[in-house]
């Protein structure tokens, strides 16, 4: 029972990680709290669902959805955030919230307020190890997350693009002075983060078999709490925080009687971490 709960917790945490990674990447590079990121997650789920209904193929629909969301992410960065960078940080933050609200409402107007079902049959085996059963969708979630984490690690630590990314997030002006095309780096960061958010949206849609306009609401604010816990711009920190929260949620719901909803837990955890360790789990000082 305990191991089963832990497995369920990790699968929820993996999805949090996919959403939160993009947010941590964007914060690392532009110092913006990109609330509209969860809007992209919602759009990703909708595009994935529509394409799936057209093509009947999970693979094609998710690849196209990721590509389209990457374009949308870059467009948001280019037309919403970029012109606002010279203002104090709360201006892009408010713009992000406005963008996020608008995306949710547009989805509601186009697709209707009711949840749509996402009927994908995953042709993967379910795994049974010592009484712990892992459903096909969870196998899919684990493998997608693992692939994306490996890809992200490889990209940032082994390629020249990763080097440019790290340089830009250290100091954009210095990076530019030493020949890094920071505009391109920023655009690619948004593209990657948005693609990750899109696949997270699709996986959540399949997992709960529903896609609805306000599905981004909780991830939007929970993922902010998660990047704070992880150390704001640290991608590994965000991933660890996400996995921990996923497990904490399932275990606390399973074993402890807490009179508060699980969504409030993330924020309580966040405030406790800020009190004890103001720079977050893996954050640097300053």
């Amino acid at each position: 029972m305990l191991w089963q709960q832990i497995a369920n917790g990790i699968s929820i945490g993996s999805i949090y990680a996919l959403i939160t990674m993009g947010l941590a990447m964007v914060y690392g590079i532009l110092r913006i709290l990109h609330v509209a990121h969860a809007g992209i997650y919602t759009i990703g789920a909708y595009i994935g669902l529509y394409l799936f209904n057209l093509t009947e193929s999970f693979l094609i629909s998710s690849i196209f959805s990721m590509a389209l969301c990457a374009v949308i992410g870059v467009a948001i960065q280019r037309f919403v955030y970029y012109p606002l960078l010279r203002f104090p940080p709360f201006v892009p933050l408010i713009a992000g919230i406005a963008m996020f609200l608008s995306i949710g409402e547009i989805c509601r107007l186009i697709a209707g307020p009711y949840p749509l079902s996402f009927p994908v049959v995953i042709r993967l085996p379910s795994i049974n190890v010592a009484g712990v059963s892992i459903a096909p969708i969870q196998v899919l979630i684990f493998s997608v997350t693992a692939v994306i984490l490996l890809f992200q690690w490889f990209l940032t630590s082994k390629t020249s693009f990763g080097l440019m990314m790290r340089a830009t997030s250290q100091d954009m002006e210095m990076a530019e002075a030493s020949g890094v095309d920071s505009k391109k780096v920023v655009a690619l960061t948004f593209a990657l983060g948005s693609a990750f958010a899109a696949i997270a949206g699709i996986l959540v849609g399949i997992n709960y078999n529903q896609v609805y306009p306000s599905m981004g609401d909780m991830p939007a604010y929970k993922s902010l709490a998660l990047i704070v816990v992880g150390g704001l711009s640290s991608v590994p920190g965000a991933v660890i925080a996400s996995l921990l929260l996923g497990m904490a949620e399932t275990l606390l719901i399973g074993y402890a009687e807490i009179p508060l909803p699980r969504d409030a837990l993330a924020f309580i955890a966040m405030i406790v971490v800020i009190l004890l360790k103001p720079q977050g789990l893996l954050g640097r000082r300053g």
């Binding site: 919403v80 963008m99 996020f100 609200l101 966040m270 009190l275």
Partner: protein, 281 residues
Amino acid sequence: MGYLYTVLTTLMINSIAVLGLNIILGYAGQISLGHAAFMGIGAYASALLSTKAGFPFWFSFPLAVLISAVIGFLLGLPSLRVRDDFLAITTIGINFIVQAIFLYVPFFGAALGIGGIPKPRIGEFVFRGGYYSLIVLIVLLVGIILSFKFYRSWAGLASETIREDELAANVIGINPVRFKLMAFVLGSAYAGASGALYAHFMGFISSDDFSFPLSVTFLSMLVFGGVGTIKGSIIGAFFLGALPEILRPLAQYRLLFYGFLLLLMLRFCPGGLASLIRLRK
């Protein structure tokens, strides 16, 4: 006339909250995304004091303002010690946590909310309708004067310096945390006052009245009117507050409308409506 008083009172109550947000965001440059939570704290405090403890409005109202300020102090203290962006995120968290507490703890009425909140009275005379609007108007005027005084005071100047350049402020001996906290506490007190007025105005409150979208609405009002100015806060609160009343069919698209309005405003007119009015002169 009853309808007009209702709309006018609501707009004035919103204005008080937005004035408070202006002190936090406009003067001190700190973003609070949990302003509705402090409004809720004021509303619940005043409602509980007058229904459970039986205090008259004249006692429960100032006490509720004080309670909101104290909670603002306790919650602001940890988040103001760290970087700017933390405050935005912690205040979102505060909004969700406070709302969850109101919704789940039986002492706060849980899902049923709190009903039967009495109107203020002196002896046999009950302040209802236009008379209640008068009380709200007086609080609003006091709020405006206080906000003006704060802006012109040493603390207001210090807050402005911190907003412009925290490092420079530090160098000339201004303690940023102290003044940020002062602005945050004062702003929370405004929100508490508006919440308490709201509770006695409606007679019934529930946790839904103080959810996160309301915080975003206050922020929209402030940005729309013009961050950093008293007239901007009031113009924004009145304009965005009255718009759904004037354009009834818009109500369903309110959020989309707010979203686009905010984006356009930030992009093309960051000074808000107040700055347009100044330009025309």
